[in-house]
């Protein structure tokens, strides 16, 4: 019984593995295939064409958060109804990435992006991300991922209007979307299309009119996915109105008039907004 065929069988089994290719993913060089709805860091979505956050400071996400890491401050909008978001901080040191905030959001304003490399030296400062660092372009692909994370709507007014790009638009545009660097193309593209087909219920009419057919999935870019990315991937980016009157080519971001601003492509508008914020003393984060 001792040291018989069983040992020999096991040893042959291990020996056969010498000829097989290792399966380890060599992490910094190779990246795992992650679907675009991978629950990573929460991100705040902004509209691709206006550069404005969809967040209305309603606080549903902060209520839903089981670990209370979302901090929201707002004040009533003096110009009209609604609220103005002053502060939206997420303490990633405490975030458990459960996506309950995404499920709770009635305005499709928050999602989770597959970014997870957040090593830092200082927990109290470097891991607290504010509303500028958390901005993410609400491209159709990102929206489709968000819809998958949200799962089943629970009777809230979650279906976006004209402002929200339809997920169905992601299908034709999904193929030439190499910008989704970290979300390895095949899985993300294919699955996104499938989800989009499954979940797009309402706004199919917008598909034709929507000019933003070629999205730049800025998921993989750095902290602030500047709208410049959008303009790179989207030469036909300016809205139809802007195509009629040629937009000014050189302008001063601080003195530009509102009419000219409306004609600018989205990328330049984003730059103007950032420059104005900077002039007002609000420092957009420049951490790499």
């Amino acid at each position: 019984m001792a040291l018989g065929l069983g040992v020999a069988r096991g040893m042959l089994s291990t020996l056969s593995h010498l000829a097989k290719k290792p399966i380890t993913i060599q992490y910094p060089e190779e990246q795992m295939e992650m679907p675009i709805w991978t629950r990573g860091r929460p991100r705040l979505l902004f509209e691709v064409d206006t550069g404005e956050l969809r967040c209305t400071a309603c606080g549903a996400c902060a209520l839903a958060c089981p670990v209370d890491v979302i901090k929201i401050e707002q004040h009533p909008n003096p110009a009209g109804k609604g609220k103005v978001l002053d502060r939206f901080d997420i303490d990633m040191a405490g975030c458990i990435e459960c996506a309950l905030c995404v499920e709770a959001c009635p305005f499709r304003a928050i999602t989770m992006a597959p970014d997870f490399e957040m090593a830092a030296y200082e927990r109290s400062t470097e891991l607290v991300f504010d509303m500028y660092q958390l901005r993410l372009a609400g491209t159709p692909e990102v929206d489709a991922g968000m819809e998958h994370i949200q799962g089943v709507k629970r009777g809230l007014k979650s279906q976006g209007g004209a402002a929200a790009p339809t997920p169905a638009a992601a299908k034709p545009a999904g193929a030439p979307a190499p910008a989704a660097a970290r979300t390895a193309g095949p899985v993300a593209g294919q699955a996104t299309g499938a989800t989009a087909a499954a979940t797009s219920t309402s706004a199919t009419g917008n598909q034709v009119a929507d000019p933003k057919a070629a999205p730049a999935a800025a998921v993989a870019s750095a902290n602030v996915p500047a709208p410049a990315h959008v303009s790179d991937a989207n030469p036909a980016g300016p809205p139809p109105a802007a195509a009629a009157a040629a937009p000014p080519t050189d302008f001063d971001p601080l003195t530009i008039s509102d009419e000219d601003l409306a004609k600018l492509p989205a990328a330049d508008r984003g730059r103007v907004y950032k420059a104005r914020l900077k002039a007002k003393g609000v420092q957009p984060p420049t951490r790499p």
């Binding site: 040992v7 096991g10 399966i23 795992m32 679907p35 709805w37 998958h148 629970r154 699955a191």
Partner: protein
């Protein structure tokens, strides 16, 4: 235990009066002349083989265990209390972190308790998705169990890494369906959180196609290996009477010859639609526990294949109010987790939070009989027995 702190700092031998505090545990020899012939060995809470922060105090005669006491609580996070101050949906994320090797099953037990409390119906597709992900979780938990068991027996990582290789495939599938690889919070009251993409079903079929041959691979280095059999056959005998007396459940009970499986004894979800068997072995030793786990993985693969073939289209979540406020009352739900019977007892006082959030963790209950089973075996066998019990400290201590 407090006299540890009272020890004068100048004392040269830090072990000198350690014995008194340790042997105060029940079953330990306390008379000094008896103790002089024994070694009190404190295994854990930091020890490579205790599967977490578990502590086992053993008195050894040579290397033979004459008394042993399990000490738990080093990973206590007061999950049950936290569950009482969170809403019902927020409580789900606590269940992820109990049995973190198979979070879906704990999610499921919690969701079932809420459904009984609030009287919710689960759509059919959601039941199928629960079975699919739940059985995948069971497989992944058993994979870790047999892999680390091989490690405890003394293999240098080979079965463990092979098992983790397949577990990676399962985690990737969970990432597709739930968004993350661990802590998915996938099973919710009234259904599941999100629908599964077609990619998931394709990957699942690929996995099922190769999985049987992978089990054969683990068995080639473990089951038929004479050294492995020498180490496990007849070790850690747990007779069915003692197993029942200690309320042991799961593969450990079934290896002792009691064909008790909640999926069969009290059918829940849609398990009665599938053609599968409950593997039972009758010797009650470490080898049988290992074999039951291997057989359960094959049975889970059978269930998965049938569920994959039969999954219908449809809703994945019942009609739910925006904020769930179950009526006053109490509910208990239990399911068969990979480690045994997971039970959730919830009491509602009509508000958004449960009034009582109580868990019956199988690892904890199974672990209580460890002290008795290990007695009379060698120190090396105590490690093997602990490995065959397949505990997860996150669930034991909660």
């Amino acid at each position: 235990m407090t006299d540890l702190l009272a020890r004068p700092a100048s004392q040269s031998n830090p072990d000198a009066d350690l014995g008194d505090s340790l042997t105060a545990s029940p079953g330990m020899a306390t008379a000094s002349e008896e103790r002089d012939t024994l070694i009190t060995l404190n295994m854990g809470p930091q020890h490579p083989s205790t599967h977490g922060v578990f502590r086992l105090i053993m008195q050894l005669q040579g290397e033979t265990v004459v008394a042993s006491t399990p000490v738990m609580g080093y990973l206590h996070r007061s999950s049950e209390k936290l569950g009482e101050v969170r809403t019902y949906v927020q409580g789900t994320v606590l269940t992820d972190r109990m049995d973190y090797l198979s979070p879906i099953t704990t999610n499921w037990a919690y969701a079932m308790a809420i459904e009984r409390l609030a009287g919710l119906e689960v759509p059919e597709r959601a039941e199928f998705l629960r079975v699919l992900t739940g059985e995948l979780s069971r497989i992944s938990s058993h994979l870790v169990a047999i892999g680390t068991f091989g490690q405890d027996v003394g293999m240098y990582g080979t079965p463990l890494l092979w098992a983790l290789r397949e577990r990676e495939m399962i985690l990737d599938m969970l990432a597709l369906v739930a968004g993350v690889r661990m802590n998915p919070s996938y099973v919710r009251y009234g259904g599941v959180a999100r629908d599964a993409p077609p990619e998931f079903f394709r990957k699942l079929q690929e996995f099922l196609d190769i999985f049987s041959s992978k089990i054969d691979e683990y068995e080639s280095v473990l089951t038929t290996n004479e050294i492995f059999r020498n180490r496990t056959v007849g070790i850690g005998l747990l007779p069915p009477e003692i197993a029942k007396a200690y309320s042991v459940t799961g593969p450990i009970l079934r290896a002792s010859g009691v064909p008790y499986d909640v999926r069969l004894a009290e059918p829940y979800s849609i398990y009665n639609r599938f053609d599968w068997e409950v593997p039972v072995r009758y010797n009650g030793d470490c080898f049988d526990r290992y074999l039951v786990r291997i057989a359960e993985m094959r049975q889970s693969a059978r269930i998965l294949q049938q569920a994959l073939d039969g999954i219908p289209e449809g809703d994945i979540r019942a009609k739910l109010p925006k904020v769930l406020k179950p009526p006053k009352g109490e509910a208990y739900a239990r399911i068969e987790g990979p480690k045994g019977e997971i039970g959730f007892y919830l009491v509602s006082d009509g508000t958004v939070n449960p009034y009582r959030y109580n868990v019956r963790p199988p690892s904890f209950v199974n672990l209580t009989c460890l002290g008795q089973v290990a007695i009379g075996h060698k120190l090396a066998d105590a490690v093997v027995i602990l490995g065959s019990f397949d505990i997860v400290m996150g669930e034991v201590d909660r």
